[in-house]
């Protein structure tokens, strides 16, 4: 390990040369920056990972069942488990997806679940990312470079292989493919995540396409070869957000989309990875209901914990929030990015009064959560080892079956006082080791 740490600046230099930047869609906004790498890995024991594995498969299966239900029968609403307004006031709900069943009923093929480990040793889910979660390529590349820089480290530690991500992704694409080739659909070279798009295309043997390379004809999507011949596409892993996907259905001014893609998708002639409309399931307000989805659809006890969350929408929760206001984190469901998130105790008495009035007027707009004191992880800064807050994004892949990738993206905060590990707040990343015994 010491040997690996000595290589830190060399690895960061290589990452920079390869153009490994961080660009992530989070709540519909795009962030881009260099993403400093810290060599000390986060280590997850086999025991912990077995637990997470079970819990994550359960959670993602429930989320997929929820999405299938919401754009279909809406049983969970009719049965009173989730109030109507939590569905239809969500900006992620797309009426355009009503009645559409994606191939194999899979909506979230690639789910990025953000977790933290509390000081009490318990894991908590902070957020589900079911739209276009990115970031898997960073630990893949970082591992590759670490392995080259210090092969010995990996001979002496029992670390699970993470080179199989491409294989898992290809399995998913193949299992939902409706007949034709697999393609990765990028907004283009100018996009900050283009690196990841081309890397994944190469690794999965998929065609890397942008809007000008494809055409919808006779109810199918085709790739246009140089010689003018057409090749049918059966699975499209798109790396653009819903609103830009098809200008004939969504934003008309989108130049990076594929006209009529939604029409052939409705007819079952292509798989779109991830399915459009998934935003309704990873909304801040819906988060509260995910454990209830597990009970409702799978008839199982939820394995993973949410951060304890209160909805002022419910009378009992409202009372709790008013009573414990100073101990809670408040989140505005309508705001994007890191905005609209604050700690109750940071408000002045006047601000607090004004906010509470707003909350009582629009209770659906806010959620309140207990502050989780999560574990610090060591990082190397200026040659010294210091402790920083870190979270973990685990990638869960769903095709014929749901599998959890034995790695993940550990992001840490560079600011020692910060509890918010958000890419837009300028953090770094670590490799994530899952031990095989």
């Amino acid at each position: 390990m010491k040997n690996l740490i000595e290589q830190q600046s060399k690895i960061n230099h290589l990452l920079k040369r390869y153009g490994v930047k961080f660009g992530i869609y989070k709540n519909n906004t795009f962030h881009e920056q260099l993403f400093p790498f810290d060599c000390i890995p986060r280590i997850i024991t086999k025991e912990d990972f077995d637990y997470l594995n079970k819990g994550l498969i359960q959670r993602v299966d429930a989320l997929n069942a929820f999405l299938d239900d919401i754009y279909g029968e809406k049983r969970i609403v009719k049965d009173g488990i989730i109030p109507t307004e939590f569905i239809y006031s969500s900006s992620g709900y797309l009426v355009e997806c009503e009645g559409i069943t994606p191939p194999q009923h899979v909506h979230s093929h690639i789910s990025g679940i953000d977790l933290v480990e509390g000081k009490d040793g318990k894991w908590y889910v902070l957020e589900d990312n079911l739209r276009v979660p990115s970031g898997a390529s960073y630990p893949m590349i970082a591992r590759d470079l670490c392995r080259r820089a210090s092969p010995k480290t990996f001979r002496t530690n029992d670390v699970e292989e993470n080179r199989d991500y491409a294989k898992l992704l290809k399995e998913v694409m193949d299992s939902v493919n409706t007949g034709g080739i697999n393609a990765i659909f990028t907004p283009g070279r100018m996009n900050a995540a283009y690196f990841e798009h081309s890397y994944l295309a190469e690794q999965t043997g998929s065609k890397l396409v942008s809007s000008n390379d494809v055409v919808v004809k006779e109810d199918y999507l085709y790739f246009k070869n140089y010689d003018g011949s057409l090749e049918k596409i059966g699975a499209l892993y798109r790396r653009i957000s819903d609103e830009y996907l098809d200008p004939m259905t969504f934003l008309e001014e989108s130049l990076i989309g594929i006209p009529h893609l939604m029409e052939i998708y409705k007819k079952g002639n292509i798989a779109i990875i991830n399915a459009p409309g998934n935003g309704v399931a990873d909304d801040k307000g819906i988060y509260y209901f995910v454990p209830k989805m597990v009970e409702y659809y799978l008839h199982e006890e939820p394995i993973l914990n949410n951060a304890p969350t209160y909805l002022p929408y419910y009378e009992k929760d409202k009372e709790y929030v008013l009573e414990h206001f100073d101990d809670l984190v408040i989140k505005d469901v309508a705001e994007a990015g890191g905005y609209g998130v604050f700690f109750g105790n940071t408000l002045s008495p006047e601000q607090k009064e004004a906010f509470i009035e707003k909350m009582l007027r629009e209770p659906r707009r806010f959620i309140a959560q207990e502050v989780i004191d999560f574990k610090d992880l060591p990082i190397v800064e200026n040659g010294e080892t210091v402790e920083r807050k870190a979270d973990l994004r685990v990638f869960v892949l769903s095709g014929k079956e749901t599998k959890v990738w034995k790695s993940g993206l550990t992001r840490f905060s560079r600011n020692p006082d910060s509890f918010i590990v958000n890419s837009s707040q300028g953090g770094g990343f670590k490799d994530t080791w899952v031990l095989s015994r």
Binding site: T84, Y88, V95, E96, E98, E252, E263
Partner: protein, 260 residues
């Protein structure tokens, strides 16, 4: 019950050559509780076209014309049977039809306009009264608004066309917790597409035409419906071309077929 022969011709002319032309057209009546399509004929000079349905169950024609062209022509001929005594009871998207859009959003003046109607307890009676009141408040004036005009602007000016009447009324209904949707179609003996409103009360959808102060009867054929005008746009097109202006010539004829 009435039967109509409906002919819809649309000619798009472009100021210069365009290519890679994708289009979506919503002017194809479909079968639903209050109308039955006996035949539908479509002619269009494109490389291909296909049929689909949008999330509001509207029929749509979509297709592609790749090579250079400066014209696209469409003909739709339909034989439609209308029976207004049959009601649509579909309640699957009621919450969607309760949510205001930017076209139907109320301003303060519209809120105040609603106040005298708060005494109505029966949503059906309230809906009728609002439509009648609006008919008398507004003046129909062609050219006073355009396709981008929202309910607030039209209401402030007290002038508009069928699209504006519909948007305002939908806004007032939704504010009163009455689900409402925008309907586009053709009215017997009219030469232009028309717009009206459907509201949900007593477990069924009622059609009401605020521009003419009429309840929708057998003289209306429906093309499409949605949250507002935008969902029912007859024509959407995307193509390659520089500084292109486009003109549309639309001809509609809707004649009743009388059986002896």
């Amino acid at each position: 019950m009435k039967t109509f022969q409906l002919k819809y011709t649309m000619d798009f002319t472009f100021s210069d050559k365009i290519n890679h032309h994708y289009f979506t057209l919503k002017c194809l009546p479909n079968t639903q509780p209050r109308q039955r399509v006996l035949t539908n004929k479509v002619r269009i000079n494109a490389d291909y076209y296909s049929l689909s349905k949008d999330c509001f169950s509207n029929s749509m024609i979509y297709g592609y014309k790749e090579g250079e062209h400066d014209r696209l022509s469409l003909y739709v001929g339909s034989l439609v049977e209308v029976d207004w005594t049959q009601y649509d009871t579909d309640d699957s998207l009621l919450p969607v039809y309760l949510k205001q859009t930017k076209f139907t959003q109320l301003n303060e003046e519209m809120q105040e306009y609603l106040e005298p109607f708060s005494s109505y307890e029966d949503p059906y009676q309230k809906a009728l009264a609002l439509s009648k009141a609006l008919y008398h408040t507004m003046t129909y004036q062609k050219g006073s608004t355009n396709i981008k005009t929202d309910a607030q602007t039209a209401f402030t000016n007290k002038k508009g066309v069928c699209q504006d009447y519909a948007h305002i009324l939908i806004g007032l209904y939704r504010q009163s917790e009455i689900p409402a949707r925008y309907v586009a179609g053709v009215m017997c003996e009219e030469k232009y597409t028309h717009a009206w409103v459907e509201f949900y009360a007593n477990g069924r959808w009622y059609g009401i035409d605020p521009t003419n102060d009429l309840l929708v009867d057998d003289n209306y054929v429906i093309f499409s419906r949605g949250r507002d005008y935008h969902d029912t746009l007859v024509n959407k097109g995307i193509f390659y071309g520089m500084n292109i202006s486009q003109t549309q010539d639309i001809e509609i004829s809707m004649e009743e077929i009388l059986y002896d």
